[in-house]
């Protein structure tokens, strides 16, 4: 999941002004708590609420309140599956074929029953090449899904998903996938309501279809979309048709659009938010003293990294890439710049997977870095061309980028220029490979290391480095086909070694979720993927 949308913006300041100006509609924390309303800072304005179009963390937070997949979020542990639309499920011996039994009382918010045909229809929409879903790789483990998406197959009935009756869904996978239930929690696997999607916009393959707007949205989750005020908030209310409605204890949630982290901080301090999206790094030290009970720093399954454009010299030279990676002092970045107890990243896969080994595949070694750079023909940085380090406009990215550039200058004698771009322009530059080095972040989509490593296969839509390695692609494919957990991990371990030896990306640190939360909010547990089951939250 793309991360970094806590964009610091003028928009945020304006939003705050607007909010202050007409804040009459939004209750303050005391009143909201009494009325069972959660006020949540949610970062930037979501681009869409269509689960098959969305790509960001911001959107995920809202969509998961509105739509429920086969498997739902567990209240405390992101590794465990929780029954969602599927009441129970069965897998064959090697976890390559799954059968889901849908509960009879699952309803869309307009009263229609949720059927297995809705899922098949949604997956066909997602996989149809003309639709252009960015997250389509999430569905590739399904048999023939990749071939259908590439247009090699035109008959969707050959794809490994079928609905023998209204409440049974059968899914065949390309290989044994024990972590398949975890994948199903991702919104790429969420269903949409076919009649609603078809009723609006230009047909079912219209990516910008207005079916997601207020008054039209039909979901099957614990909440329904009540109000969408652009650049202000999205308000959802408890769904009367949700099958587990008795469990839902909140009456409403406001997802507040606040891009500016400092504005968010001030709104929290003045009692206008229950939970913040994040905390500005310069405030962490002070908050540790003044609000120790409310400040949370929790491991988050994600990696902050720099990606090289390996199609542009001199970054096509692995020695240059490794030199830059080795000259980076990650301890200093974490302890002096990001300040949030993050873990320095010496490999790409973050900690948190029990049986996956923690290794140091890149070291802070300026000596070797200088030698590698000299071998590449840039001794002491001489003759190194003028190159740019790209980041999206946000104070904390700016800070890290400046620190890193200064380290490269000090250790290697290379002068990098910084270049910041607004979020959308930045995403465009990444996907067009129009950069030299670019900052990026990746949050795991499910609980398996492959969610971090499959990014770097040749055709992955999120690769964006131009890097390609046949052996690496083969290992990732192997990982999806391996019969045992050991074989699966063995393939991934070798793949990660290749990745770190070739270094198309420099891991910097592993994320922490850093936020403020008021003591009234209950049922909010630390979770590695930050998947929030809103139906278990309550206020006291």
């Amino acid at each position: 999941m793309k991360f970094g949308r806590m964009v610091f913006g003028v928009g945020g300041v304006l939003t705050a002004v607007v909010l202050a100006g007409c804040g009459g509609g939004i209750p303050n924390v005391e009143e909201a708590t009494a009325r069972g309303i959660l006020l949540k800072g949610n970062g930037a304005e979501p681009k869409t609420l269509d689960p098959q179009v969305a790509t960001g963390v911001t959107e995920n937070k809202i969509i998961s309140a509105l739509i429920e997949g086969l498997i739902s979020y567990h209240p405390t542990d992101d590794e465990l599956p929780e029954p969602g639309v599927a009441e129970r499920w069965e897998a064959n011996e090697d976890y390559s074929e799954w059968t889901f039994f849908l509960r009879a009382d699952a309803r869309w918010s307009n009263g229609d029953p949720v059927t297995s045909h809705d899922f098949v229809w949604s997956y066909e929409r997602m996989l149809t090449p003309e639709f252009g879903a960015e997250y389509v790789e999430m569905l590739y483990p399904m048999e023939n899904a990749e071939a259908f998406h590439r247009g090699e197959l035109t008959d969707f009935s050959e794809v490994g998903v079928e609905a023998p009756d209204d409440h049974t869904l059968h899914i065949r996978l390309v290989g044994p996938t024990p972590f398949f239930l975890g994948m199903l929690k991702h919104y790429a696997w969420f269903p949409v309501h076919p009649p609603t999607v078809e009723a609006h916009g230009r047909g079912w393959l219209d990516r910008s279809s207005p079916w997601t707007l207020q008054g039209r949205y039909v979901g099957n989750g614990p909440f329904v979309l009540e109000e969408w005020r652009v650049n202000q908030y999205i308000r959802v209310t408890k769904s009367p048709t949700y099958w587990d409605r008795d469990q839902v204890r909140l009456n409403e949630i406001y997802f507040m659009v606040i891009e500016d982290v400092n504005t968010e901080q001030r709104m929290y301090a003045s009692g206008r938010l229950h939970v913040t999206n994040t905390v500005p790094s310069n405030d962490i030290a002070n908050l540790r003293r003044t609000r120790p009970e409310e400040l949370r720093l929790e491991p988050y399954l994600g990696t902050y990294f720099y990606r090289f454009n390996t199609t542009r010299p001199p970054f096509d030279d692995v020695r240059v890439r490794r030199a830059l990676a080795m000259a980076m002092d990650r301890e200093a970045i974490v302890n002096r710049v990001t300040l949030g107890d993050q873990t320095p990243a010496y490999a790409f896969v973050p900690p948190g997977f029990d049986d996956y080994p923690r290794r140091r595949l890149v070291e802070h070694d300026p000596e070797t870095a200088r030698r590698l750079l000299a071998e590449a023909g840039f001794a002491e940085g001489g003759g190194f061309p003028r190159k740019f380090l790209l980041f999206n406009t946000l104070e904390d990215h700016r800070k890290i980028a400046e620190a890193v550039v200064s380290m490269w200058n000090r250790e290697l004698g290379i002068d990098f220029q910084l270049e910041n771009k607004e979020w959308r322009v930045y995403l465009e530059a990444q996907s067009q490979l129009d950069f030299d080095i670019s900052r990026a972040g990746w949050i795991g989509d499910y609980m398996d290391p492959v969610t971090f490593l499959e990014l770097w296969t040749t055709d992955n839509g999120n690769n964006n480095t131009g890097w390609s390695n046949a052996r690496y692609d083969e290992l990732i494919r192997e990982a999806f086909r391996s019969k045992t957990q050991e074989a699966h991990y063995a393939a991934l371990i070798e793949a990660e070694e290749i990745l770190m030896a070739e270094m198309p990306v420099i891991p910097v640190y592993h994320y922490n979720r850093i936020y403020l939360i008021r003591p009234e909010v209950r049922g909010w547990n630390p979770k590695l993927l930050d998947n929030r089951p809103y139906k278990y939250l309550y206020l006291e």
Binding site: P280, D283, N286, R336, R398, E419
Partner: protein
């Protein structure tokens, strides 16, 4: 036909018009007059010298501080003012004094260059349009209206993507946007001036359009233009910080007052010195520019009395 040398035999009866050479007032240019008048305005003069001092300090100061504006010391981040760092350090442990001075360079340069560009285009365009009159005037001023309607950011983004990104281009781009109001002001002024007798006189004397425009009309609008120009400088400086923020202007680690103030505003509760110091310099500059503009308006008005 030749005039007779001696027109009248009674010439001797005319009063003696010869003037004591001591009393001859030396011909003085507009600028000499203006300077003389400006010198009498204490506040303006003070502002003038303050601006000079700020400019000199900003351009020379960074050479004297023992730090460079990019040198980081991650062990000493966000420190308050001390003997080592007079203005404290920022969030990467860089010397704030050096950064404020270097930031001043950028902000002052952008203010001056962009304002000059806007003056050059705006005054020429506005005066030419008003003087031309008729259809040409209508077309030229409707062009200004159309450009007004165009979102400024899009225009700058366009410029930045077409051309290589550079600081100079940024300066010119801002100036190329800011000239619109200037053109309108000059247009209005010139339109009323050109109906006056001294222009008619110039026309009847057979002076060319260019001479009338630049020697007769434009000096008469300089007062208004100067005041507006001094107001343009601060708005241009603000624009620069806005653009830098969008990633189209000054790129870090290069500071500008706008970006320093933004960083300070983010940390206002815990580290107020990061905001107060650059904001002080910025406001001081703006105040001085306003007072100076005020004084210049009085000084440059050719209609104000000479004594």
């Amino acid at each position: 036909m030749a005039f007779p040398k001696n027109i009248s035999p009674d010439a001797k009866r005319l009063p003696d018009l010869s003037i004591d050479p001591e009393q001859i007032e030396e011909g003085s240019s507009l600028w000499q007059d203006a300077w003389a008048r400006l010198r009498k305005n204490k506040l303006s003069l003070f502002s003038f010298w303050t601006l000079i001092v700020i400019a000199v300090v900003c351009f020379a100061g960074p050479l004297l501080t023992p730090y460079s504006y990019v040198e980081q010391d991650l062990e000493r981040t966000l420190q308050g003012p001390s003997w080592q760092h007079w203005f404290g350090t920022d969030d990467l442990g860089r010397d704030q004094l050096t950064r404020v001075l270097v930031g001043g360079r950028v902000s002052l340069t952008v203010g001056i260059i962009a304002t000059c560009v806007s003056l050059l285009i705006g005054v020429t365009y506005g005066a030419a349009a008003a003087y031309a009159g008729g259809k040409a005037e209508a077309v030229m001023m409707r062009m200004v209206d159309i450009l007004y309607a165009m979102p400024f950011t899009i225009f700058v983004i366009l410029l930045m993507t077409i051309f290589e990104r550079s600081l100079l281009l940024l300066f010119i781009a801002i100036g190329a946007v800011e000239w619109l109001t200037m053109a309108r002001i000059v247009h209005g002024q010139v339109k009323s001036l050109k109906e006056q007798e001294f222009i008619e006189a110039a026309v009847s004397l057979g002076y060319g359009t260019r001479r009338i425009l630049f020697r007769h009309l434009i000096p008469n609008v300089l007062g208004v233009v100067t005041v507006y120009a001094t107001l343009t400088v601060p708005s241009v400086m603000l624009l620069e910080s806005f653009l830098s923020f969008l990633g189209l202007g000054v790129q870090p680690p290069q500071p500008s007052w706008g970006s320093l103030i933004k960083l300070g505003a983010d940390n206002i509760q815990l580290f107020p010195h990061l905001l107060v110091i650059p904001a002080f310099f910025f406001s001081l500059t703006l105040f001085c520019l306003n007072f100076l503009g005020d004084g210049l308006r009085d000084a440059l008005d050719p209609k104000s009395s000479k004594d």
